[in-house]
Symmetry: none
Subunit: 199 residues, 4 copies
DNA sequence: CATGAATGAGTCTTCATTCAT
DNA sequence: GATGAATGAAGACTCATTCAT
């Protein structure tokens, strides 16, 4: 299903319905949402899920790809903003906002090994690298912090909030602000461990 | 199983074996680790799991309780340290360290409704409240963050690191340092959302 | 499964195989017959049982419904017979005969709470009521006996016989004759307790 | 456990506690009442059950024996009553009453193969035979019914009533009266099947 | 292409029974 | 004798996946 063969119109529509249904179902029920429920929500038969996605894992990977790709688009659009510091904050805000609307963290690990995911992830790393570089040069980011650091911290604000039963919808902004303060150059204390490098 | 009935020596040993095995298994496979695998790892029969824990949920709750209680102990021990700021950092370090060794976040939601968990969690809130108060009075903490903020941020450093396939064992210290910098009074920017209150 | 969705030919066949297998299995082993055994006897996989019946209870209720409905049909067919007394005896004979071939009494209690069962049971009460009324008017039934009495006594002849290890196939007719003699007007002694009323 | 070795006082007491507890538990929960519940109700440990009874089946057989033996006692006591017809009715009343208080029918089949049960059952047959003979000679019983007929019909009145959700406590007397009317000589119609003989 | 019936491995849980304490 | 911890074979039920229609 990785191939780029053109789909018949109705098939393409079913694929989109399924992706949307799966997203909602995963967001509500976690990774253990059942294929049957997803199919029902999409209004198609169970068999159709497997015509479009080789396995449940594949479906998950597709969703994750879609979201990562969206983030990459945002990062690229911000790569020539006039205020690089504000641009980075805006990216992190957009990332958290997207994650807030569809809780999909847990899905990442599930699809870690999928080559499509690694590919789009690398693209996101590249795009985010540009933002981070520019922020560094503008002095908006503490110098001992790398693109990977920012990448890893990206999902933290929403994660923090998820430990609450009924968090205010925008509460994550509070924790993004705190973490972003920790990323600023002023008042930065030396970091105890070296930055990680990607494999 | 909260009752204070004294356990026979061999039974107590099995209970501990089970808790340890369950911890490892949950850490490796997530909350969907099977009771059968846990039993095998502990070297006992499946039925023995249910002799010690009324259900899988009960087992999870027991583990979570154990860990929360340990944290409460740490917080209490630090409540009269001479340097309140250092004490708070030490607590967060200990918390992250514990969580790093047994990834159990996901279990929290699973046992949210268990009264034993809510009880020990409240106790942790109280103990952490003392640490935060003292840090505030010592000027070691920005004035606009609350105990609940610190509580929620507690697990973030390890969570951040979990998105990496093979993180360096102490890498979380790096993100704890960044987040803690964000909690310091110097260079703090105003927070966009009010602090959450617990139910 | 009461819905009127048309079943695919093979599915309908499996459903019937399952009902038949379940009937036999329950008759032989009682209500504790296992779903696995039923599936094996029907020549299908365990999962198929649950595709057709939401639960074991649902399966039981379906069987009970089927049998009660068959009885209702018999009662209705007899409701305009020329000899009301003979018609009632014929109904009781048919009822005992059916029950003899599939011992399902014990299942009744198991499915008491199912609304489908209560519904068809009410219909049977109504149909039997007609038979009893006509028998009363024809003087073929002692006057102090009600429809509910007849309903309750319906299964007694077969039950009586079940205490025997290897009863003659038609032995129940002997006890139906005795009980029916007890229901006749001649030689009737007054009854010590009032007739029960249905809820 | 069939042996007649004298038990230590406390052991004998435990045995009685267990029998009583088992009776209640079976009456409430049916044959699937668990050994654990029975032990708890008796206030002893699970292991003790198996010290007194070789198996759950053996426990059931013991209860059934106890009840059958009690009935035999009643039958013997009535064997020289002045009115043989009244004596037979009284026996059937006592039998139904006992069965009403402890629903144990289902247990019979469970213990059919136990030699102790067959033995006491034979004794009951003998004692009941005397009552039936005398009733025949007194002209209180239709001539075409045998001791085995009466034996088999013995439990019917209570069984009939069990199909009701909440029967009046003495409702079974109504059906015993009807059945007994069927056993009287007056108005008896010929029986369609020969009387069964015991193996 | 889409359907949904069938599969069967796998899940949690229960329980009669055994045996070391 | 009594205890209760341990066992392991079932049991009901779920679900990703396959395939005939």
């Amino acid at each position: 299903m990785t191939s780029t063969r053109p789909l018949r119109a109705d098939a393409a529509r079913n694929r989109d319905l399924l992706l949307a249904a799966a997203e909602s179902e995963f967001a509500e029920r976690g990774a253990s949402a059942s294929v049957a429920d997803i199919a029902r929500r999409a209004g198609v038969a169970k068999g159709t899920v497997f015509r479009h996605f080789a396995s449940k894992e594949d479906l998950i990977a597709s969703i994750v790809c879609k979201h990562i790709t969206a983030l990459t688009g945002i990062a690229r659009r911000l790569s020539d903003a006039t205020d690089p510091g504000a641009a980075l904050l805006e990216f992190l805000t957009a990332a958290a906002d997207q994650r807030q609307r569809h809780d999909l963290t847990f899905l990442q690990s599930a699809s870690e090994s999928d080559p499509r995911v690694t590919q789009v992830r690398d693209e996101l790393h590249a795009a985010l690298g540009t933002l981070v570089d520019r922020a560094h040069r503008a002095g908006a980011l503490r110098s001992d912090v790398t693109e990977t650091d920012v990448f890893l911290l990206m999902c933290a604000p929403v994660h923090v909030v998820e430990n609450l039963a009924a968090p205010a919808p925008l509460l994550w902004q509070r924790y993004l602000a705190i973490i972003f303060d920790g990323l600023r150059p002023d008042g930065a204390h030396p970091l105890p461990q070296p930055a990680p490098t990607l494999p």
